[in-house]
């Protein structure tokens, strides 16, 4: 296992696109959170009655421990960036035909997929690390008094990791089966940005409550939209509570779905000709 990690890290650490992705992630995570943060500051700094009410009901979503939740939710929109990298890392093996060479040199077919599992894990860990740093940064910056509550809501760290890992696994299987980077990326983007959203909209309109079982939605629901408007109406509040109560179910669903994805990869790889 250690050997596998060493080999994959050797491949990743000298890959320019990896550093490109990392820099962009390190800019976007603080970026998107700052936009929302300063938007929030503008609202609560007003002198009007409305602004003061907003301050009271909203609290500070970027103070500890809320920062874990808010930053996770906002950052998770940008899974597309590491997804590009994951797709590149697998389709590179096809381009360079190193997926054959690795086997020729002595890996078993299972070890090859293990190595890709390692890739997706490494990238998920790094992205999660960036999230943790950004969340801590905002927590301290937004409200230095509440930092003593940093240890609350830490469950958002594993949830963020699981969401990232699950969605990157979807990107991986696309790259793995389609073999062409741009086609795989196109399918992923189209599904992630457009198709599933249309499906969700349609299901909600028809009042069929199964949208939480859709591949991306399934793991998106791990991190419920923060209750910025939690007391703005009983219906919204009830919905929020419902979503929160479903999180354990979503965790199990996501783990099962991701396990199936990888099982398919192992099965396919053990049987097919490597061309």
């Amino acid at each position: 296992m250690k050997n596998l990690i060493n080999i994959e890290w050797l491949k990743i650490k000298k890959y320019p696109a990896f550093w490109g992705m990392l820099i962009i992630v390190m800019l976007t995570y603080p970026g998107i959170n700052s936009m929302v943060y300063y938007g929030y500051m503008e609202v609560i700094s007003g002198k009007d009655m409305v602004n003061q009410v907003a301050k009271m009901v909203l609290g500070n979503p970027f103070a500890f421990p809320e920062t874990w939740h808010s930053v996770a939710y906002l950052s998770s929109f940008f899974v597309l960036l590491p997804a590009i990298l994951v797709i590149m890392l697998v389709t590179n093996e096809y381009n360079y035909r190193t997926h054959r060479q690795n086997i020729i040199d002595g890996w078993s077919r299972t070890q090859f997929i293990n190595s890709k599992l390692v890739d997706v894990s490494i990238i998920s860990c790094i992205v999660t690390l960036v999230y943790i740093v950004v969340a801590i940064g905002f927590g301290i910056y937004a409200d230095s008094i509440s930092w003593g509550r940093w240890a609350e809501q830490l469950e958002y760290i594993p949830l963020f990791f699981l969401q990232t890992f699950a969605q990157l696994s979807i990107a991986f299987i696309l790259g793995y089966l389609v073999k062409k980077a741009f086609i795989a990326l196109g399918i992923f983007l189209f599904y992630y940005v457009i198709l599933e959203n249309i499906a969700v909209g349609l299901l909600k309109w028809k009042k069929i409550p199964i949208d939480r079982f859709l591949p991306i939605r399934m793991s998106n629901n791990l991190i419920v939209k923060p209750a910025l408007q939690r007391t703005f109406g009983a219906a919204a509040k009830a919905d929020y509570e419902l979503q929160l109560s479903l999180v354990p179910q979503q965790v199990l669903l996501t783990i099962a779905f991701t396990a199936i994805i990888w099982m398919i990869c192992y099965r396919v790889n053990n049987k097919r000709d490597i061309v």
């Binding site: 080999i7 491949k11 000298k14 190193t98 054959r100 020729i104 002595g106 070890q111 000709d273």
Partner: protein, 298 residues
């Protein structure tokens, strides 16, 4: 002799095309085994199957007489079709990957093979900046690294200049002397003839012939004779002179001549004058090329 690789009844189809048809072959230890065949004859398919890149439809193969496992592949240095490396990594980093996967060699071995394939000066350049010949040499270097017991080379001189080809030829010869078994697929007859001890010829997925080179492909003139009294014939031929060697084979005698030097008329009259009437007098003028064409043409 000990067997390095045995293949038993392997068949492989790609959709409609039958790439290999019930192929059986054994490769003895210490041989330089050439696999010849025209383009599309199944050479690469065969090599891919024994490296577990392709799955055979039927049949079995075994390395070192052991059950199939990826551990056995670590003992084989292989170059299959094209040099396959990470384009953005340098030669050294690419070899580090090879090394970590195969478990063969150490850092010193990397420098050593880069020296052998004459890439030391460019060892820190990215693979993508290499010329075709340099890529090929790196692939040969990767196969050589850490002294594998077997080398499996598919068209190893592809893309090399004449000097490079000669260097690789010498390299293979010197490795063979160290007792490493070398399996080479090629369509360059000259290349195979110069270095191989054994040869197999494939055509459209069928094995036409295999065995030691001097049996399968010969560059000499061979005359086969036979008579009722073989002992007498043998003595008579021995007295004749002009040949390089005589081999007795089953019910006939093979007389080997340097190429172009056999003379059937002369043999016939010599025997007749010595009181022997030949039952068989057959010229077998076989160059490697004519043998190959004979076998592979329809």
């Amino acid at each position: 002799m000990e067997t390095i690789l045995s293949i038993e009844g392997v068949s492989k189809s790609y959709k409609k095309i039958k790439a290999l048809k019930n192929l059986s072959l054994t490769i003895p230890k210490g041989s330089v085994f050439g696999i010849l065949g025209p383009n599309g004859s199944g050479k690469t398919t065969m090599m891919s199957i024994v490296l577990d890149i392709l799955k055979a439809d039927t049949g079995e193969y075994s390395w070192f007489g052991l059950p199939n496992s990826h551990e056995e592949r670590k003992r084989i240095g292989a170059l299959l079709e094209t040099p396959n490396f990470y384009h953005y990594l340098s030669a050294v980093d690419n070899l580090k990957v090879t090394q970590a996967i195969s478990g063969r060699g150490d850092n010193a071995a990397i420098d050593e093979v880069l020296e052998i394939v004459k890439l030391s000066e460019r060892k820190n350049s990215k693979f993508s900046a290499y010329s075709l010949g340099m890529k090929q040499r790196l692939a040969i270097g990767a196969a050589l690294m850490g002294n594998p017991e077997v080398l499996l080379l598919d068209e190893p001189t592809n893309g090399l200049d004449p000097v490079g080809i000669a260097e690789i030829r010498e390299l293979i010869k010197s490795l063979a002397q160290k007792g490493i078994t070398i399996i080479i697929a090629s369509h360059l007859l000259d290349e195979v003839e110069k270095i191989c001890t054994h040869v197999a010829i494939l055509k459209k997925g069928t094995l036409l012939t295999s065995g030691p080179v001097d049996e399968v492909l010969s560059n000499e003139d061979i005359v086969e004779v036979a008579a009722a009294n073989m002992e007498q014939l043998k003595k008579c031929i021995a007295n004749m002179g002009g040949f390089t060697s005589i081999k007795e084979e089953n019910d006939r005698i093979q007389i080997h001549y340097p190429i172009g030097r056999s003379n059937l008329e002369m043999i016939n009259s010599h025997c007749f004058n010595n009181g022997i009437t030949l039952q068989l007098l057959l010229s077998k003028k076989k160059s490697l090329e004519s043998k190959f064409f004979e076998l592979t043409n329809d």
